[in-house]
Amino acid sequence: MAKPVNKKKCPQLSKGKRPLPPPQKEKGTPVGRWLEGVFGIKSIALAVVGGGLFFGLITKDPGYQWVWNSLLKGNWDFIQKHRNATLDERNQMKLGFDYVFLSYVKQNTPEDAVILFPLKEYNTEKGGDYQLSGNVNSRFWVTHFVYPRRVVYKDEQETNPRYKDVTHVAIVAGHGYEDLDYPVTERSYFTVLPKSIAEK
């Protein structure tokens, strides 16, 4: 338990007009002695020993090894190698095809679009050489990349009041063409199309 506090020795907590007690002068370092450690052989020897222990410990510990090799140096080397990458390219490095597809959806739909995505089980199917991750089944994850556009899934026909407002259909792994109001002859695995001719 901490030492009991003697009220008489404690300064008041809040006294607006009371002048502050003068700051206590800390024990200073005479200017002449300030740099003595730099040239002192003891200081250098201690730094070598301390530094050796310091880094020896760090290189033996699996957590710190990960920090240095992967988190710091690994990322630093990667960044230096790709320092001219654009923001789009950096997004692709981390998010892969998900980012490419959702950026395409954003660029090819108006801001007030309501975009229909296929049944959640189809969203992670492979289409040609490409495949989306399971993240695409999260409405808010997709919304992050397409905001202010709204996202609905085919599974939500009965539950989502915005289902009837769908203006565009996201074609994922070839699924979604059946939701268009018009036939499409040239089909690709991943694209976004207006739901009806009128939207076109």
Partner: protein, 466 residues
């Protein structure tokens, strides 16, 4: 525009910090400027939105500059206090330079530069941030409003947004900070994470050096920032590291007040603890722990006014945000069990997962091991001199309060096992700086480093010729 906006934020924080306390070190003031500034600015954004002012770069900057002008005038009339601070910092003494201290500072600088570069280079990609914090930031910036943000009000999102543990329930500091930089025209919000990390370091070093030598403070700061899991999360857009920064610094300033009895440090602690609960509701665990110590102090010193003020201030952000949500039809039911109960299986699972985390050096490096060794070696000083007993009690209470909070939650959206593995793991970030603070300031380690200093800088013998 971005740099101007962030400079305004730092200036706002500087004015608020200096208005509260004139007994802060330069390193502390430099770090707190942004940390306090961004907290106040997000609070301001909620107030503006509530009264119907559209959130734009111009409106937020104008409101901030207005507050800065107001505080500037106040500081002008309190010139004496400002002079007091200048007089205080002028008593700053350069530490005697030792190579070990320089080595630790260099190591801190290397880690800081590498981590900030990583934070700024990669855009937001982690799931929680994409789905929640960064998305809300983007949406609020686009719509210029919180209460009428399309993300919350759109019929298609309405049900999801009002489910238990929905993103609405999160306290708004991080989301609105991201929103602020998006309003300023930033392409990503990661500059906020970089600035919070870089601001944390000098404050941590400053507070630690209040209780220990500069070499020891630098070493402990270094070990704090390289804690593996915490460093990993510090460059992401998640809110856990941000909360850890505010909660740990708030507690450290409180401990500084407790032992140094400098009144203004208490109000700095209150301000930072307010921001910790503005960042995450779990900040209440630290507020509760601080409240217990302060209650004990108040009973001894018979100063109940300050106790009431402290409790009111610290809980204000949580009350304010919940009233805001309630009055704007954004409220959701919290999955919290309010009555006491006993579930042996649940308690056993929490205990097992907790020990797995404590033993993990992959996540927390040497933090828990060092703390345990130092605690054991310091038992004598604790028993005989009550050495940092309040610090230990505070850490223990905060940990108990949070664990009880975890136990009282009804997990309808996820399994308790996952919550322990991920959420609890990240919550422990708040304890990492506190445990290193204890290691650096306890009697045994200070005695050891004192010996090192005496070895390096032996007192000069003065010969007097009579």
């Amino acid at each position: 525009m971005i740099y101007f906006g962030l400079s305004v934020t730092a200036l706002l924080g500087l004015c608020v910090t200096l208005s509260i306390s004139q007994r802060l070190k330069i390193a502390e003031v430099l770090g707190l400027a942004f940390l306090v500034g961004i907290g106040i600015q997000t609070f301001l954004m909620v107030c503006m939105d509530w009264i119907g002012i559209r959130l734009t770069a111009t409106s937020v900057l104008a409101a901030s500059l207005l507050i800065i002008a107001g505080l500037g005038v106040t500081l002008y009339f309190r010139r004496a206090a400002l002079k007091e601070w200048l007089r205080y910092v002028s008593t700053f003494t350069y530490p005697k330079i030792s190579w070990l201290w320089l080595l630790a500072l260099l190591a801190i600088a290397v880690v800081a530069v590498m981590n900030v570069t990583k934070a700024m280079y990669f855009p937001t990609f982690d799931g929680d941030s994409v789905r929640c914090f960064n998305l809300i930031g983007k949406a609020v910036a686009y719509d210029g409003t919180i209460k009428n943000c399309g993300l919350y009000t759109d019929a298609g999102n309405y049900q999801d947004m009002r489910s238990p543990a929905s993103t609405i329930t999160y306290m708004p500091l991080a989301q609105l900070a991201y929103s602020y930089v998006y309003l300023l025209g930033a392409a990503t919000s990661k500059i906020i994470n970089a600035l919070i990390f870089i601001s944390f370091i000098p404050v941590l070093y400053g507070v630690m050096s209040r209780f220990s030598t500069h070499t020891l403070a630098a070493t402990a700061t270094f070990f704090t920032i390289i804690t593996p899991e915490m460093l990993g999360f510090s460059s992401m857009s998640g809110v856990n590291f941000i909360h850890a920064v505010y909660a740990s610094l708030g507690v450290m300033f409180f401990i500084s007040w407790y032992y140094k009895k400098i009144p203004s440090l208490l109000w700095i602690a209150v301000c930072i603890l307010m921001l910790s609960s503005w960042a995450r509701t779990e900040g209440i665990a630290f507020i509760g722990a601080v409240g217990c110590i302060f209650l004990w102090y108040s009973i001894k010193a018979k100063q109940y006014k300050a106790l009431a003020l402290l409790a009111g201030c610290c809980l204000l952000p949580i009350i304010f945000w919940n009233v805001f949500l309630k009055l704007n039809d954004l409220d959701v039911a919290r999955p919290l069990i309010l009555k006491p109960y006993w579930d042996g299986e649940k308690a056993d699972l929490i205990r097992r997962e907790m020990w797995t985390l404590f033993k993990s050096r992959t996540f927390y490096g040497l933090t828990f091991v060092s703390f345990l060794i130092v605690l054991i070696s310091n038992v004598w000083a604790i028993c005989k001199k009550y050495d940092h007993a309040a610090t230990l009690i505070l850490i223990g209470l905060a940990w108990i309060f949070y664990t009880v909070l975890i136990y009282q939650v009804d997990y309808v959206w996820d399994s308790l096992e996952n919550v322990m593995k991920y959420s609890y793991k990240r919550f422990l970030f708040s304890f990492v700086p506190l445990l290193w603070f204890y290691v650096a300031s306890c009697h045994t380690v200070k005695w050891l480093f004192g010996k090192v200093d005496a070895f390096l800088f032996p007192p000069k013998k003065i010969s007097v010729n009579l």
